[in-house]
Amino acid sequence: MAHSGRLTGAFVCFTVAITLVMIFPIYGFGNQVEPYVLGMPFSMFWVVFWITVEFFAVIAFFLHEYGGETSANDELGSPSTSTKAPPAANRSARSGSLAGE
């Protein structure tokens, strides 16, 4: 429970942070035409750069949570049944939530 709570907390913080860099006042640092990067004005490169960062960060979150698990687990069972009765493997989020029920 504590572990899954921390993970959710970290994800929420990450979401807030990545949102803040996209809007003012923080976007003010990126909001200029020069220098051009990869041909794009800096105001556009800033957005593209942080989206790329976001992409890898979300992958990291997912791997952290579902790391040692084979995809067969999910693809074999129908989703509705697997939601109701998750295998007891290292699914931290789910086992955490079950403990709470």
Partner: protein, 490 residues
């Protein structure tokens, strides 16, 4: 044969194909099951899920409105990238929870969840009505997009009203027969087609017209005022507050669209998270789409267009030579973009109307009657949006932002349901009404907006204040709090 005739033939071939695929998707599934129609019996695979959610962003607003904004408003178009990248993040946290609750209690819509949590039918009916109205606005955008494509690519031979009728008529038929599965499988086809077309077109136009991305932006900087490529300067198209609040409203509002929220019920927790993982990539896919708009600057004279949203089809007919086959292929890609969203929206609106508006007012409906109502709603909602698309005057992105202002008002009730045991029925209902009211006042009636903020954000702040204050002033009974607790803990 004239180019436009070949274009019509190519687009027709595509429409027939999309139609067949949409119809086939529902084959062998129960035609008379609400669960199948609404949430595909909770069994959509990852691949389909990706395209279903991806198709939502690659809509007419991205494919036509994106280049239109880049062309006419410059840096303001970056809002589209930020919104696409951020919109799905909250789903990582709320999606699995909603999926669990949905499977336990047999929910099909956002209204089902809210009705159960707040034990209020009134709340659900309000949510249903607001959603249907916002859906109509959103659908108007897509229909307009389809009509532009047909009209410009056939060099005016297919009038706006007929193009819209053809493309959207097909969507209506396969949504009625195949439900969510029809929408999902057509989206796979449409998203792939649209991506191929957008990237090919972007690479070609940027290199053919300017010789490279760097050279293109240097030309933009020469052609336009110096503030064109930044936000919030005196010569910019958008102020810092308007830009930031538009991103915030779109981000918070994204998952509050009933048709997207409902997708939580169609799949498993792991697939929900994998879909979120893929989404920033979809945002990056949009970068070349914006390049198309920037490439048009200095090439397309502003007075050549009725609306900046036509810049992409205009470039195709004027810069790609006279090949009708290319017109048709690109036309099909653009239609794909609009149709893949139109089907999801139409489907969502029909489920909202049937399940959240009519069902609570008339309990004890059989499944069969409920489905009939949903299918009738498809036609009615479609007709309303069609009317607005032909006679309304707003640009594509204004339509989207307007619809978001209303949709985002669901956020306090939904997050409250999932994370705050003390939230009360009265708080949720009053907050929602105040939020929607404030949004409409600043969107339609007031002359200016305080600090140039998005009307939806002003409504959202009022909404949260009322929701929290009322819930604290009139606390829930012990039994209600225990009921709320079950949702927080599940």
């Amino acid at each position: 044969m004239d180019a436009w005739v070949i274009a019509i033939i190519a687009m027709t071939v595509y429409l027939v194909f999309a139609f067949a695929l949409g119809l086939l998707a529902g084959r062998g599934r129960s035609f008379f099951s609400v669960s199948e129609y609404a949430v595909a019996d909770r069994g959509l695979g990852l691949f389909v899920m990706w395209f279903l959610m991806g198709g939502t962003i690659f809509s007419a607003f991205a494919f036509l409105g994106g280049p239109g904004w880049a062309y006419s408003k410059g840096a303001a178009a970056f809002y589209i990238l930020a919104y696409a990248a951020l919109g799905l993040l909250p789903w990582y946290v709320i999606g699995p929870k909603v999926a669990r609750l949905g499977a336990q209690h047999n929910y099909f819509t956002m209204g089902d969840l809210l009705a159960d949590r707040y034990r209020s039918r009134a709340l659900v009916v309000i949510v249903g009505i607001v959603s249907v109205l916002a859906f109509i606005q959103y659908l108007t955008l897509q229909i307009k997009g389809m009509a532009y494509v047909f009209n410009v690519l056939t060099e005016g031979h297919i009038p706006i009203w007929l193009g819209a009728l053809l493309a959207y008529g097909i969507v209506v038929v396969y949504v009625i027969t195949s439900g969510v599965r029809g929408a999902a499988w057509s989206d796979v086809l449409q998203a792939i087609l649209m991506l191929v077309v957008a990237w090919g077109l972007s690479v070609y136009l940027v290199s053919h017209l300017h010789g490279g991305i760097g050279a293109m932006f240097e030309s933009v900087a020469r052609e336009r005022p110096q503030d064109f490529l930044v936000i919030g300067h005196p010569g910019s198209a958008m102020s810092a507050a308007a830009y930031s609040s538009a991103i915030l409203v779109s981000m918070v509002g994204f998952m509050m669209w009933p048709h997207l929220f409902t997708k939580s019920y169609t799949t498993s927790e792991r697939r929900i998270k994998l879909t979120v993982v893929a989404y920033p990539l979809f945002a990056l896919f949009l970068v070349p789409v914006l390049f198309i708009g920037f490439a048009a600057i200095g090439v397309v004279p502003p007075d050549a267009l009725d609306s900046p949203d036509q810049v992409l089809p205009y470039l195709i007919t004027h810069e790609l030579g006279g090949s009708g086959l290319i017109y048709g292929l690109i036309g099909a890609g653009a239609l794909a973009a609009a149709m893949s969203s139109a089907d999801a929206i139409t489907h969502g609106a029909s489920v909202s109307a049937g399940r959240d508006v009519v069902a609570p007012l008339k309990p004890n409906l059989t499944d069969r009657t409920q489905l009939l109502i949903m299918r009738v709603a498809v036609v009615l909602v479609g007709a309303a949006a069609y009317y607005l698309a032909i006679f309304g005057a707003q640009g594509l992105i204004q339509l989207l932002l307007g619809a978001y202002g209303a949709i985002v008002q669901f956020a306090p009730s939904v997050y409250g349901a999932l994370f705050w045991r003390r939230g009360t029925r009265a708080g949720a209902i009053c907050g929602l009404l105040v939020g929607v009211g404030v949004n409409f006042y600043f969107q339609l009636i007031a002359d200016g907006k305080p600090f140039d903020l998005h009307a939806g954000l002003l409504g959202l702040v009022a909404n949260i204040v009322v929701f929290v204050a009322l819930s604290l002033l009139v606390p829930p009974s012990d039994e209600d709090a225990a009921h709320g607790d079950r949702f927080v803990k599940s």
